[in-house]
Symmetry: D2
Amino acid sequence: MSKKDQELPDRLFDTEDMHGYTTFRALSPGAEKWIGRPIKCLDHGFVYLVDYMGNDESVVQAARTSYGQGTKKVSNTEVLIRHLRRHFHNTPFEMVEFKFHCKMPIFVARQWIRHRTASVNEYSGRYSEMEDEFYVPEPGVLKKQSQSNRQGRDEDLEQGQKFDILQGLRDCYQNQYDFYQRLLNNHELARELARLPLSVGNYTQWYWKIDLHNLMHFLHLRLDEHAQYEIRVFAQAMARIVREAVPICFQAFEDYQLNSLTLTGLELGFLRLHADLFPAKKERAHQIILDHFGNKREAGEFIEKLVSLGMILD
Amino acid sequence: MSKKDQELPDRLFDTEDMHGYTTFRALSPGAEKWIGRPIKCLDHGFVYLVDYMGNDESVVQAARTSYGQGTKKVSNTEVLIRHLRRHFHNTPFEMVEFKFHCKMPIFVARQWIRHRTASVNEYSGRYSEMEDEFYVPEPGVLKKQSQSNRQGRDEDLEQGQKFDILQGLRDCYQNQYDFYQRLLNNHELARELARLPLSVGNYTQWYWKIDLHNLMHFLHLRLDEHAQYEIRVFAQAMARIVREAVPICFQAFEDYQLNSLTLTGLELGFLRLHADLFPAKKERAHQIILDHFGNKREAGEFIEKLVSLGMILD
Amino acid sequence: MSKKDQELPDRLFDTEDMHGYTTFRALSPGAEKWIGRPIKCLDHGFVYLVDYMGNDESVVQAARTSYGQGTKKVSNTEVLIRHLRRHFHNTPFEMVEFKFHCKMPIFVARQWIRHRTASVNEYSGRYSEMEDEFYVPEPGVLKKQSQSNRQGRDEDLEQGQKFDILQGLRDCYQNQYDFYQRLLNNHELARELARLPLSVGNYTQWYWKIDLHNLMHFLHLRLDEHAQYEIRVFAQAMARIVREAVPICFQAFEDYQLNSLTLTGLELGFLRLHADLFPAKKERAHQIILDHFGNKREAGEFIEKLVSLGMILD
Amino acid sequence: MSKKDQELPDRLFDTEDMHGYTTFRALSPGAEKWIGRPIKCLDHGFVYLVDYMGNDESVVQAARTSYGQGTKKVSNTEVLIRHLRRHFHNTPFEMVEFKFHCKMPIFVARQWIRHRTASVNEYSGRYSEMEDEFYVPEPGVLKKQSQSNRQGRDEDLEQGQKFDILQGLRDCYQNQYDFYQRLLNNHELARELARLPLSVGNYTQWYWKIDLHNLMHFLHLRLDEHAQYEIRVFAQAMARIVREAVPICFQAFEDYQLNSLTLTGLELGFLRLHADLFPAKKERAHQIILDHFGNKREAGEFIEKLVSLGMILD
């Protein structure tokens, strides 16, 4: 794998060129700080902010149009943003845009692209040669298949196994890329076919543009611990930028979505019925809840919530 | 107002014509029952099911493709659907479609159209003459402007006032429509201009097609007590149909979305800190919560939730 | 009608406040010029640019990511943009955003909202009082219903008729608004119901945000002579702004979409068969074409195209 | 490569099970015929129709709602559908839905997924084991990289080269899959990581649901000769089904989109200026056109159009 990623520059373009650009547009100092500054992700990937539109105040500005005089009572920017977020008035958050340049392994790109509300321009293996950059995980993130969670990793592997895995992976990548080069150069095979042997560990890149509302939805799903680690890294990088770009919106997102907890109708029914049970010992609660729900998995999820609420003593 | 709505037929087309249509498609007996059967909404409106694709099993079928062997463990249709809904695996619910024919006042249509994920063919006042049908509310739903909720109604009005309002409304509609007719017939004014005096109480109609996932999102917002009564009536009519068309999905929607309750990160923080406070008397809890949140409105919302959880004794 | 529209200020906010905002973002001098500057539309409406993201160069920047080294051969910005537009490579044009504040009659808003790819925050008649502003057409645009085009206007009306129409319209609006005020103030009726008598000629307003690709699609449909005059006025105002904001993209849009002409497969078949017919006299061509197409309307459309191509002598 | 594709059954489920399903829904005999019948695509892929909603008549039904009495004049289904398609009245075509089950190589899936208006449930390599099925092209489609078209193939390769390429490809796939199996079985590595070495030639599958309007847009782009051959095969399979499912719509699509030809504003300008030039010899026209356009590529595209119009004698 040829590229040295420590070479990532502080800013990807010369700020000298940019002196004296004055604008009448809404400005976010926190976003400006991140324009052109790549955050390294995995071994060869990155995310940086290319452009943005709007700031915290832009959300409020759109909401005030919507609610007219109705918002005069709630005059404070922070109070209004938090009110909007708490009550799922999402459209004003669509008024802010972010455009990122991202580089990631193809298997990550394949999860990412499922979010259909973004605009994308991806590097094309039909037009251009794919580079010799493949994802080799850090030993620390190599784990066994989880048995309880069909889409997760779990237990650690032994050092020797990790060494074998990584060595095998590097060899496999090398073979693929050598063959790709032979197809391109010896056989002059069309690029769109020559790429067939390249794996989903190969890096691609794209411009990705999305509004703040849909970005928060993406982050909600991809910051989650059930998201694959490798895409979570990119979500975290974007979250770091967005937190500074629209600090009030991001705080509201954290308080009302990211760190929230939803009780289902069935769980509420149980709580109303068994108010006197709490705070409860785990064993006792466990049996009653299981009897009530029938479904083991759903009961388990409820118990987890009650533990996190301090209502079941772990 | 000319049309008699009691004339709404049981089915809008002759079932004799439809004998012997056999199909290889997934079939929902609950949906078949509703095809062509209008449900009356408000004074001149209706909703009926025109067509549909898929049933409860179709959701499971798509999910199994997605999760492959991973779903074998969770073999039961109901258990799988409930699992998907609980964990926001929404895409399989996009695999079911409903197409409705709806007739509603223009102001209702204007709220409805904000849901951008549907396909719509609306009656056009440029092509065709608008009919003499306007929304006159039932006296029971005429209420004063709410003072606490800027977008709501509240206290009842006196009978005399109601009478005056409805009489004035009928007169105003009559004047508009008479003038519209004069513009069309005496002046031969283009229809696209002649409609200018017609109010947002005038009825329009459309075909509206949407997938089950987005329909449930629509219903979540429009069945809510904060939605305007007049659009809620249409949401309720569709909910009645959907409940029979995909009973397992609808039950999961009710249990996990409609009847759920979300605690914010701030509220969870409070509960963890003050576990020993509950169950609490309202006055005591009120003061501590208000001190904690600062924001009166947010504190009020939390107290409401705690009451509904039985943790505050009302 | 209370508001004086000559009062529209040159810029809607104080440029003093905006001194010294420097940005690292892509900048469009043509867009900056229009920020906050309203263009009057109809009697009480306007459009102004609130914010934007990107410029001509941003389209190229996204395309280069996509095509990698593939674009080096076509190094010039203008050549590349024109190539993209000509070949329906639309995604790079999604990378530029425009946010407008618009005020328009409700019947215009109802046509406009059908474009589902924009983000919208509209003034709410539930939250706030509707203003006493209604659309009264200029006498020059009052026309009779077209007989050939079911959705168009055609022949002029007599002066006396126009006078009657406009007087009647003003009276009707006045009655509506007086009744609205009585409902609000005398009866304290909820705003969401009090608006029932207000017509689709009443003005509303919104923030409207859309990317350049979808905006060009909107403009293509709404600049068309078959679009209703009243929405065309708004499309023209936005076109004026976009032309200066992204001049190269707009020129390509005009050359390759707006001013293009599409020949159907059937028309191409005819031309190949009857190459020797042209240039033709209208009568002769007319008969042969009608015989060929069967369908009168389709034949007529083809003849129009041939006239505009100079192949039929009108 | 283990799976035998000749094993593709005539229908994927037992039609015995389906006897006697009668429905009130719109029915398309042409679509019914294709439900559950896979069309083989490439070496291991397929497309089959899972479900559908609507038929030609459904498009007309929606349009009539829209245009009200306005469509009575154009009473014939075929005439109306053709009129709608010719004039880009696209929304009625959104009222028909198709749901396909498709199996394709990952690099094809990556092009396909760029169409954001569909609903997708894809097989997940996190949940389930990827199968030992990889795309090995037919020798006939192996071509050299085109020099004139950066994203195309062109000249044929020698037999010996083809043999080497295919042998190398099979070996590379075998190595990847063996290593994948070792990672899964010997190291028990999590599936979401074990898939890293698997190439974009590996097969995946999905349920794909889309409305007729957006499907025709997809087909327009992917039936084009510039689309990669491997995705074109899938587009052709779906076109075959859609042609029988909605024959009138499909014919209109072919006549008005697929086989149409668009002349740009610049080309129209040229034709009006040089009406007397045609029919012209290629050499003469070539020089004048080149002088007029400046841009070589654009001139070339115009000449191609004129040849196909019979205006330039090749």
